[in-house]
């Protein structure tokens, strides 16, 4: 847990020194947006993963969707969907995400997926709904394929939604109030088909715009304030 006590930039710098040359090292050696950066300037990458389960140590990434945000503008030209060729069988999780073993046979090697994500994430803050999942799975995948974790700042739309709903922990909210679909409906966003990585990433990015509009009320809002 020593690492947890060091600053993120220090840890990133340390891992960058051990990473093989390429996108993962570039990501780690590129500075993250400063904590005081205003949301109007903040560059993020909304990411959603489809996985075989919830444990990064035993479960696998099946698909990654991501779409960049430059300030308060979602740039669809950067929207990307990657399928990952998994070692394990998809099994029962196919019921949820609809990705079959056959589709995955055409997917990318995990190492390449990690590098594609790292390239897109460079200089950006990771944005996800319940971001700990995306952060931990990507980090574990990177550890496995490149020997170093993927360390970035992150913003979590699930936590932001709790604040939009006037709650600090979310514990006082009705069950399901923070789910992506429910959260979007609450702020008046259209209903999307769930559980497709790129659609969910876009859904998360749009939710972020709606949340920021509510939380800032037109006043400046910094990265640090988003992570509070």
């Amino acid at each position: 847990m020593i690492g947890g006590l060091l600053g993120l930039e220090r840890r990133r710098a340390r891992w960058a020194g051990q990473a093989p040359p390429g996108p993962v090292r570039d990501l780690l050696s590129t500075p993250q947006p400063a904590a005081r950066t205003d949301v109007a300037e903040l560059r993020l990458l909304a990411i959603d993963l489809e996985t075989t389960g919830l444990d990064p140590r035993t479960d696998h990434i099946l698909a990654v969707g991501f779409v960049p945000l430059d300030g308060l503008v979602i740039d669809l030209s950067g929207a990307t969907r990657l399928l990952c060729r998994a070692d394990a069988e998809v099994g029962q999780s196919a019921v949820v995400h609809g990705i079959t073993d056959d589709a995955l046979a055409d997917g990318l090697e995990l190492g390449e997926v990690v590098e594609r994500v790292a390239s897109a994430l460079r200089g950006r803050v990771l944005l996800a709904h319940h971001a700990v999942i995306e952060r931990d799975f990507l980090s574990a995948a990177s550890q496995r394929t490149h020997g170093v974790p993927l360390l970035t700042e992150s913003v979590d739309t699930m936590q932001l939604q709790a604040r939009v709903l006037g709650s600090h922990t979310g514990a006082d909210l009705p069950p399901g109030a923070l789910r992506l679909t429910t959260a979007r409906a609450h702020v008046g966003l259209p209903r999307y088909a769930a559980h497709e990585a790129l659609t969910d990433a876009l859904a998360c990015a749009e939710l972020y715009l709606a949340q920021v509009a509510r939380l800032s009320g037109g006043r400046p809002l910094s990265l640090k304030a988003l992570q509070r």
């Binding site: 503008v73 979602i74 669809l76 259209p190 659609t199 749009e206």
Partner: protein, 620 residues
């Protein structure tokens, strides 16, 4: 679904016009060129007067569009598009405000222009949106005050009862009884559906009572046969001018030959008197050229006044033409008085805008002489002096000579009927692009004075032959599309690059005159007799040559562009300058600029259609 597809974006676009018409592959590609933004309720997305480089489509939520006066143009939810009117940094004509929290799909002007260039459905959709907003603009024009509105009433709206008719073989007594019973001062004499004459109180007094005529005689013995008539589409002002200048009190209104009713000077009593009436009355009494010249100087004031009163451009065109007609007719009478009677029958014809009842202040004169075929070489000298008298008189009265020399003073345009017929036959049957360009003006032709049969013969020939010459029509159509509206694609107006009118906008060539030319092709292609542009548009629509929507759009565009021109010319007249068609963008209000652009878009799209309708493939 490809790796690049964004189903929630593509599916959404596919469900909304105009994107529904775009092929799926193109939509997927389009989706990847968009950005997504979010606006809270109350956010201003576009503001009047501010430039813009993007086109927006509401993904969810709702927006409200209002014009510069704050009046509502449109309120729209999912799928509503806006922003095309202010592309390229043009100042926006509208305020657009999110009235609900809204998610917006945004495309850059480059992406939109590319899409519109490739997909006609998208182009058409947004041009229709422009047209709808132009109509909003016409409605927003200041309301005409009662004074001018009254004088612009269409004659069909002044007719208050069914026509009271008799036949030529009825007795004078029966006719007089009918008049007494119906309490009218005149009767329409008909043969079946056709008007053959009129009988008035005065005829009964002077031709029956005073002459001691037997009242058992037929009405045909005392009626005025082949009377002057008016069209139901003429306006009250024209009727007043016509009746005043001819000193008559009864005017049958006919649709073709079919009588619709009678209008009398009493019917017009309710209508206010206005300056043009006095002017035309005075012109008809003018003793000599000097008197006419003085009178003609009143016209600019009248135009200025009409523009101020917000008369329609069409109405003002008709009034200016009526004054021009009166001056020209008076000159003809003065010439005949000076030179003695004509050696052979003739018709004095007017061409171009005057023939179409669309003369503007400062319009050139375009006229010609059709002589009876009996004319001998020694008769020609009389007509030469005659034409010189009228043409020079017109110049003195402020009607500049036609730069192309199309005037009766030019021997080329002073010919016996058979030569005119041969010329028209050549123009129609052996069209060359240059000949069609030069002769087009002769297809807008109206008799001003003289033997009607000479001109009827030409009208009949044109109506019968022009429609059958595909090559002639194709050349006319090509000419109609030749002058593009002075409008860049989303980049504002195209100004004159050099010369006297540098940095000004030509309202005529690719503007209202293009509409004149389009209407001409459509009318000639169906053998329609109308000459007035709006009448041609409406008749062409009735004959199926123009879609009703296109006709309505052209009508609006024609009115609007000419309205802007008249405002400009009235200003020039006030400053003592010669009126022209070149307006500087600075003198246009933002309202005029924006709606002028819409009108030019309509012209451009009608030009494309007319070229397709009369394919150039026929032209060798």
């Amino acid at each position: 679904m490809t790796d690049l597809d964004l189903p929630e974006v593509t599916d959404f676009l596919a469900e909304h016009a105009p994107f529904a018409a775009v092929p799926r592959e193109d939509l997927e590609r389009l989706g990847r060129h968009l950005t997504v933004r979010y606006a809270r309720r109350g956010t201003h997305l576009m503001s009047v007067g501010k430039g813009n480089d993007e086109v927006f489509v509401v993904r969810s939520g709702a927006v409200q569009i209002t014009d510069e006066n704050g009046s509502l143009v449109e309120r729209g939810g999912e799928g509503t598009g806006f922003g095309t009117t202010a592309l390229g940094g043009q100042p926006s004509r509208f305020d657009v405000v999110a009235i609900e929290d809204s998610l917006l799909l945004v495309m850059s002007s480059e992406v939109f222009t590319d899409l519109a260039g490739r997909c006609s459905a998208v182009r058409d959709f947004f041009s229709e949106q422009r047209e709808a907003r132009l109509r909003h603009a016409l409605v927003s024009l200041p309301h005409q005050d009662r004074h001018s509105a009254v004088l612009q009433t269409r004659l069909r709206d002044l007719l208050r009862r069914e026509p009271i008719t008799t036949t030529g073989d009825a007795t004078i007594r029966a006719a007089a009884e009918l008049m007494a019973r119906e309490q009218v001062s005149s009767l329409l004499v008909v043969d079946g559906d056709r008007l053959t004459g009129i009988v008035t109180d005065r005829d009964l007094r002077t031709r029956v009572l005073a002459a001691g005529l037997d009242t058992g005689q037929p009405v045909s013995a005392i009626m005025t046969a082949g009377p002057v008539t008016s069209s139901p589409d003429a306006i009250a002002m024209e009727l007043i001018l016509e009746m005043t200048s001819r000193n008559i009190h009864h005017m049958p209104v006919v649709d073709g030959d079919r009588p619709l009713g009678m209008l009398t000077s009493t019917d017009l009593m309710r209508l206010e008197r206005a300056n043009p009436i006095h002017l035309v009355g005075d012109v008809a009494k003018a003793k000599d050229l000097d008197a006419l010249v003085l009178l003609s100087q009143r016209l600019p004031r009248i135009v200025d006044q009409l523009v101020h009163e917000d008369a329609t451009a069409d109405g003002i065109g008709r009034i200016v033409t009526a004054v021009g007609d009166a001056i020209e007719k008076r000159l003809i009478t003065l010439a005949e008085q000076a030179l003695g009677p004509a050696p052979v029958p003739y018709a004095w014809i007017v061409l171009g805008s005057q023939a179409r009842l669309e003369q503007g202040p400062g319009s050139d004169q375009d006229n010609a002489l059709v002589l009876s075929d009996e004319a001998r070489p020694e008769d020609l000298a009389w007509f030469e002096s005659f034409a010189a008298f009228v043409v020079d008189g017109l110049v003195a009265c402020g009607y500049p000579p036609c730069p192309g020399g199309i005037m009766a003073s030019n021997p080329e345009w002073r010919r016996p009927l058979r030569e005119w017929q041969a010329m028209f036959a050549r123009w129609v049957n052996e069209p060359t692009p240059e000949a069609v360009l030069r002769s087009a003006i002769f297809f807008d032709l109206r008799i001003l004075h003289g033997e009607r049969r000479l001109v009827d013969a030409l009208h009949a020939q044109i109506a019968a032959t022009a429609r059958q010459s595909g090559r002639f029509l194709a050349h006319l159509a090509r000419n109609a599309a030749h002058n593009e509206p002075p409008l860049g694609f989303f980049r504002g107006f195209v100004l004159e690059r050099k010369g006297e009118h540098k940095d000004r906008l030509d309202l005529k060539r690719g503007g209202f005159h293009a509409i004149v030319e389009i209407a001409r092709v459509q009318a000639l292609s169906r053998g329609l007799p109308q000459v007035n542009t709006l009448a041609r548009i409406s008749a062409a629509s009735g004959a199926g040559a123009l879609a009703p929507e296109t006709a309505a759009n052209l009508h609006d565009a024609f009115e609007f562009i000419r309205y802007v021109r008249l405002t400009h010319q009235a200003r020039q007249l006030r400053e003592g300058r010669q009126p022209d068609n070149f307006v500087s963008p600075e003198e246009l209000s933002s309202f005029e600029k924006r709606h002028l652009r819409d009108a030019f878009h309509i012209v451009r799209s009608a030009q494309q259609t007319v070229v397709q309708s009369y394919p150039l493939g026929f032209v060798t």
